[in-house]
Amino acid sequence: MPGMIRVLGPFMLIVLVAAVFLKLDPLSRFQDSVPPAEQLMVERITIDDDGLSFLVRSEGAEAVSIAQVQVDGAYWRFQQTPPGPIARLGAVWVHIPYPWVHGEAHHVAFLTGTGTPFEYSIDVAVPTAQGLGGDWLFYGLVGLFVGFVPVVLGMLFFPAIRQAGPETMGFVLALTMGLLGYLFVDTLAEGLDFAEEAAESFSMREMVWIVMLLTGATLFLIGRRLNNGLSPVMLAWTIALGIGLHNLGEGLAIGGALAGGAVALGSFLVIGFTLHNITEGIGIVAPLTGEKPGLPLLGGLAALAGLPAVLGLWLGVQAISPHWGAVAMAVGAGAILQVLIEIALIIRRRYFGESAARPVGGIVAGGTLGLVIIYATSLIVTA
């Protein structure tokens, strides 16, 4: 019994303190006649023949009503489902039967009961895929070009890497670290970008860091448990997993861009993206130089690293909410972080042991070159 009291006592005290605070309500002094802070944000948008639809989330301290909707500076009829005020952190779909113009920009404002407009811009209006429809195969093809094809192309460098001696191997491993280091930062940045777009109340900025570290730590511990240090094949699998999650995020972003109506033409960008992602293939096979990997293993690795881009594109086209995008990116960053640590441990074990040669120059050069290559190819993509 005394044990029970020791546990229940503090709980009861917490309830009591909360009750006293609510009873006294000292904050009411500061809230006198101040209108409730309203906050609305658009999480998703779909554009089709019936008009525009928005997933609108309320972030205010209290429920918010959408009283009227303006499109391009004109009041417009709309249907809200479910109707009524939007509870804190609740979301509704707002459908506007608007005769939007293909390829042009449209500006929408949601006016609350106080007449406060919350604005959203569609940069370039193009129809969004309606639940993929008949285009899923087509989007899948795009996903293959983004993820799978470049990874396979990168893996074709495997025989060349294999020819190299142990000195060159250190260089290649360091190169991989450079590539992955960039991808880690890039993925994390993307996650934080998504977090920026997510509802503020979800604290996604903090969650991206937490999920990333948690993922990295979990994967690392699993790796330790499987083996005292990862085997080269296992390492290749974990690299493929990390890159796969990165490509999932990439697919999400691309699909989201399509759904969001942002379009920039230029087929040379395809080439840039392919070059950019080829480096991922090199990274995956780098640990396997001492092995004799069969075609099924290489195919499996390529699939794990590349195919998530297809999945990401499918999900992204249907416009996922940004907080889920942030989580996906954070998981990807965490996976890459774990791979970085694993490779660093291998380099340390192989080249910085008691009797090792300690090829500092080669390692530094490899890491730098890896960063330079992936950064340079990213420039082509951004152009």
């Binding site: 009227q68 909707v69 009041y75 007449g115 811009s121 070009f145 942002a262 920039a264």
Partner: protein, 359 residues
């Protein structure tokens, strides 16, 4: 207050999509073109009724109805002095009041007599006017009349501006005849104006003083049989800046967006129409009135008995400019005739109306 922009990655993602998506985009636009001619959904979103506020304003809660306001003249109370001269007295009270300016949108207004626009004060040329003004609001206010009066009656600071709880009586003669207005002249002026402190001040011509145009003057004088033949109404063009960024979110005639569009003003086609039109819109340099399918004569400021513009269908007014519109639908096809600001921006944000002409 803006929503997040598309990220860099989103934009770069579309780069290669553009090339690969050519097929899909073409297919989608073909579908769109097809639906434009066939789909009823497409027809609906192009119909005029689609560009409209959603829901209804609770006029009872507001305490004023834009339709009743059209003809709701405040004539005050009159007394005749020993010299036979008429003194007309009005009572106006300033008060803070939340009003619904579009369905579901509530504006923290400052009002005269609890309504926006304030009461349409109507007097006759030559009368002595006494306006008893009480300030029950939270700020200093005044009534500045557009008319002829002495400096001490001007309704500016030091001449009729009063603090909350105080009272002031403006006294002056009703002249010149015409379509005028009054408004608060306290500073900051923009805020006191667009919060709702304005109203119509109409001075009817005294036929005795205008023998050369007695019939015209009598037709303008409220209460005469000649005047009864007319369908008179007052329209105050106004706007509301609901987020106080010096741009109006809502435009209207007599405050409520789309009020005369959702429920057209019914007019008898055999009787002429006279509109006392006043522009008090803040933040925008001009406002305008445009009638569909018809033309009108216009009397700028209403201070003449002859039109200042004849046979026009659009008139442009700066802030505080006003005038009288006279027109007729005699022998016209019955039906809905649209009228609105010919700034499409204002029309689309609420200043859109209809006459329903009945035989």
């Amino acid at each position: 207050m803006n929503f997040p922009r598309l990220s860099r990655r989103n934009l770069l993602g579309t780069g290669f999509l553009g090339s690969l998506l050519g097929l899909s985009a073409t297919r989608a636009s073909t579908a769109l073109a097809a639906s434009e001619s066939h789909s009823s959904a497409m027809y609906d979103k192009h119909a005029m009724g689609a560009m409209m506020t959603v829901g209804e304003v609770d006029h009872a809660r507001n305490g004023f109805d834009p339709h009743a306001m059209l003809t709701d003249w405040d004539r005050g109370t009159t007394s005749v002095g020993a010299d036979g001269r008429v003194t007309r007295e009005f009572e106006v009270t300033a008060e803070d009041k939340e009003i619904e300016i579009a369905p579901g949108i509530f504006f923290p207004a400052w009002t005269y007599n609890g309504r926006v626009p304030g009461p349409s004060l109507r007097a006759t040329e030559g009368e002595r006017l006494r306006i008893v003004f009480r300030n029950h609001g939270s700020m200093p206010h005044s009534m500045h009349f557009h008319g002829i009066h002495g400096a001490s009656m001007d309704g500016v600071a030091g001449a009729g501006e009063i603090a909350p709880g105080e009272e002031f009586v403006y006294e002056f003669d009703a002249r010149p005849f015409g379509c005028h207005l009054y408004h608060c002249h306290s500073i900051p002026l923009k805020r006191h104006l667009h919060k709702g402190l304005y109203g119509a001040f109409i001075v009817d011509p005294d036929p005795e003083r205008h023998p050369e145009a007695g019939d015209v003057a009598r037709s303008r004088l409220l209460g005469t049989p000649e005047n009864a033949a007319w369908q008179e109404m007052v329209m105050v063009m106004n706007g509301f800046d609901t987020n106080f960024d010096e741009e109006n979110e809502v435009y209207a005639v007599n405050t409520v967006a789309h009020a005369y569009s959702k429920k057209p003003i019914v007019v008898d086609r055999d009787r002429p129409i006279r509109i006392y039109l006043i522009n008090i819109t803040e933040f925008d340099p001009i406002n305008s009135f445009h009638i569909h399918g018809n033309f009108f004569d216009y009397f700028d400021h209403g201070t003449t008995l002859e039109p200042t513009s004849r046979i026009i269908d659009t008139v442009m007014l700066c802030q505080a400019q006003r005038g009288i519109i006279e027109m007729s639908f005699k022998d016209f096809e019955p039906g809905n005739y649209m009228f609105h600001a010919h700034q499409a921006e204002f029309a689309e944000l609420g200043w859109m109306s209809h006459f329903e002409v009945r035989a």
